[in-house]
């Protein structure tokens, strides 16, 4: 009988097999010098490395066949991701000589490719199954718990990134709070200003072009250029206007970072507010007015509830965008995970860069998925259309 080859499976297999051939980890005498690459077979003690390598290879090749049920594929891919992660931890523990605090074992290209191959397989399998909202919410929570358990178990403590973490766990907690404050604070500000602005340009169509035009221009200014403009302006204000410095205005630090993120958030919030409101069926609006609702009543009782899915979509865009963008705040002393990224870049310590980058990516992913689920939960009923 003929076996059909899955094209996506073939792609994942090529990526993953390349990962098995390329170095799995890098062993470095200290955190800055370039190190020696070790393949999965070499990085782990003798039978273990070969067993894991061969099993992963077999899974990748078997994944090329069409005949796998999606749920089985999902489970296998998830187990493979966990296996690769634990193999990294084991390799780090085995390779680091005892009592040596300088040597580092970092993830290398092979590990990243293996993780990429299996997470792609995971995502591919998941997209083929239609799962209900509660199950997907449970899956998200489960994934977070799993990560917490693996990190908490100490299995990865030998890995370079975790060693960097161990050296700065207090700082990490502070920067994490700072990062969240930047992302959520700028989102809150953008909603506070952007929602009324969106409603205002909905009410007076003549204002739409100029307002959206200005916000569009703001959106296109590169973040570094924006800081370049703001540093002298806010610096001058802080120095010359009484009370400004006490109120937190400063050329560098948290204030300009917050302002920049806020400005970037305005366009998505304002334009989605407008889209959501104009998307409401005119007959519904007409009926609301004809029944004797006042303008504020129409807005609060009819338009905003019906525009809610589009507004939540805006919050999703802004939150994911700002979690990523907040890294740049590290450059001007604004705090957040960017602090580690830029420190690491300055010291050519890639492990420190990862300590900033990995949690940022994880945060953005979790925020994005969680809000997607929320959008779906509220958008389940038909929007303002001919119900």
């Amino acid at each position: 009988m003929a076996f059909r080859i899955s094209r996506t499976g073939l792609l994942f297999a090529l990526i993953g097999l390349a990962g098995l051939v390329l170095p799995f980890v890098q062993f470095k005498p200290n955190r800055i010098v370039p190190g020696e690459g070790l393949r999965l077979f070499e990085a782990l003690s003798l039978p273990l490395g070969w067993i894991i390598g061969l099993v992963l290879g077999a899974v990748l090749i078997a994944g090329c066949l069409e005949r796998w049920p999606a749920k089985l594929r999902l489970t296998v891919a998830l187990l493979a991701v966990i296996a690769v992660t634990l193999a990294l931890g084991a390799a780090a523990t085995q390779l680091t000589p005892p009592d040596n605090t300088l040597a580092r074992v970092s993830p290398a290209s092979g590990l990243w490719l293996l993780l990429l191959a299996f997470t792609l397989m995971l995502a591919d399998a998941q997209s083929r199954i239609t799962l209900g909202l509660p199950i997907r919410l449970a899956m998200l929570t489960g994934a977070m718990v799993l990560i917490a358990v693996i990190l908490g178990s100490g299995a990865l403590d030998g890995v370079s990134v975790m060693r960097e973490y161990a050296a700065r766990s207090d700082l990490f907690a502070r920067e994490a709070v700072g990062h969240l404050a930047l992302a959520f604070g700028s989102l809150g500000l953008a909603l506070l200003i952007g929602l009324p602005l969106g409603v205002a340009i909905y009410e007076s169509p003549a204002m739409r072009r100029p307002v959206l035009g200005i916000l569009n221009i703001l959106q296109t200014i590169p973040s570094l250029a924006l800081f370049g403009i703001m540093i002298p302006i806010f610096g001058w204000i802080a120095a010359n206007i009484p009370g400004a410095a006490q109120a937190g205005v400063a050329g560098i630090g948290l204030f300009p970072a917050m302002v920049a993120l806020f400005l970037y958030s305005l366009l998505p919030v304002v334009s989605n507010t407008l889209t959501g409101l104009t998307g409401v069926n005119p007959a519904t609006r007409e009926a609301a007015a004809g029944l004797g609702m006042t303008r504020p009543q129409i807005l609060v009782q009819v338009l905003i509830p019906l525009a809610l899915p589009v507004l939540l979509a805006a919050i999703r865009i802004v939150l994911v965008q700002n979690i990523g963008l907040a890294v740049i705040a590290g450059l001007i002393g604004g705090g957040g995970f960017g602090t580690f990224v830029f420190q690491g870049l300055n010291q050519t310590a890639m492990d420190l860069v990862l300590l900033g980058a990995l949690p940022t990516i994880a945060l953005a992913l979790v925020a994005g998925i969680a809000l997607d689920l929320l959008v779906e939960a509220t958008g389940g009923r038909p929007k303002g259309g001919q119900a």
Binding site: N281, A283, T284, E286, A287, A288, A289, G290, L291, G292, M293, T294, Q297, V302, P305, L306, R381, P382, K383, G384, G385, Q386, A387
Partner: protein, 311 residues
């Protein structure tokens, strides 16, 4: 009584409604008929001030509507539109109780009113109260739309093509139900339609509009027998004229003495129904329920404008 006096609406340089005056007596149905762009909808929307008149005024029971806050005015006037405009995020009960809640009725009051209206429109309250609009058929949505318009017991009800989205069978039933409910409640009703058939079926008075002007305003029989302009006769359509005329009178009004064979026809059936029955069953006289007959000759006499004029 609704008095529309010299009402005009100008957009830019075009007059969409030009100097229209008409009066609707309390408890009557006035149908505004015209092609699209005739200004009939704008005229209707000026009555509840969704559109502000450029000139002229509207008096409801002698009171000038310009003196009432627009949203307070609208809460006193029922309003139902094509495509019903139900709030898709609210249940049937919440939709119907919109105006009572705006008026600050107690929960007990508006709940009782919702059930009363659902029963009036032959929808089982326990079954329909908590449904969402998208869980209803087109005909049910339309009925909920009218129930919502009637919720606060308005003396005046405005309807803009309320049956436009319904298929012909449901539409005829909905028209009949509306007519019955209107008679029962004594509500004054002004309805906009592009369909002369609907206007003749429902209207005590028909106002024909074209290019913003009121061409003719009178009872259906007058519009049918003596159209004021060629536009009005075009709108009536020469082919259907006699049948529309017959549809205005019930059988009860032309009963003659005598005996006839075959199935009886109800007293409240229209002459049009009687003619159709004669032609279909090949009879030239029909027995009427409760005694008497109706003859093909008498039907023929009623179908011509000259006969009516002679009466």
């Amino acid at each position: 009584m609704i008095e529309i006096q010299n009402l005009t609406r100008i957009y830019g340089t075009t007059a969409v409604v030009k100097d229209v005056s008409l009066t609707v007596e309390t408890g009557q149905i006035a149908a505004l008929v015209g092609t699209s762009g005739s200004g009939k909808t704008t005229l209707l929307r000026m009555i509840n001030r969704l559109v502000e008149p450029s000139a002229g005024r509207v008096l409801i029971d002698g009171k000038d509507t310009a003196e009432i806050e627009p949203h307070l005015l609208r809460r006193q006037i029922g309003y139902a539109i094509q495509g019903h405009g139900l709030f898709p995020h609210r249940t049937v009960a919440q939709n119907i109780s919109t105006v009572p809640r705006l008026l600050g009725w107690t929960q007990d009051q508006h709940r009782a009113r919702v059930d009363e209206l659902l029963e009036l429109f032959q929808m089982e309250p326990a079954d329909f109260r908590d449904r969402m609009p998208h869980e209803l058929s087109g005909g049910q949505q339309q009925r909920v739309g009218v129930a919502r318009a009637l919720a606060a017991r308005p003396d005046l009800l405005l309807m803009d093509e309320p049956f436009g989205a319904l298929d012909p069978v449901i539409r005829a039933k909905a028209q009949q139900d509306l007519r019955d409910i209107q008679r029962q409640l004594g509500t004054t009703l002004i309805i906009v339609t592009h369909d002369m058939e609907e206007a003749v079926t429902l209207g005590d008075r028909i106002a024909v509009m074209d290019k913003g002007e009121l061409l003719q305003y009178g009872p259906p029989s007058e519009i049918l027998t003596t159209p004021a302009t060629s536009f009005v006769s075009d709108l009536i359509g020469t082919g259907d004229r006699p049948f529309r005329l017959l549809s205005l009178t019930p059988v009860a009004e032309i009963i003659a003495e005598g005996q006839a064979e075959g199935a009886e026809i109800p007293r409240e059936a229209s002459l049009r129904d009687a003619l159709a029955e004669c032609l279909w069953s090949g009879r030239d006289r029909l027995p009427v329920e409760g005694g008497g007959i109706v003859t093909l000759d008498s039907l023929r006499a009623q179908a011509a404008p000259t006969a009516r004029a002679a009466e």
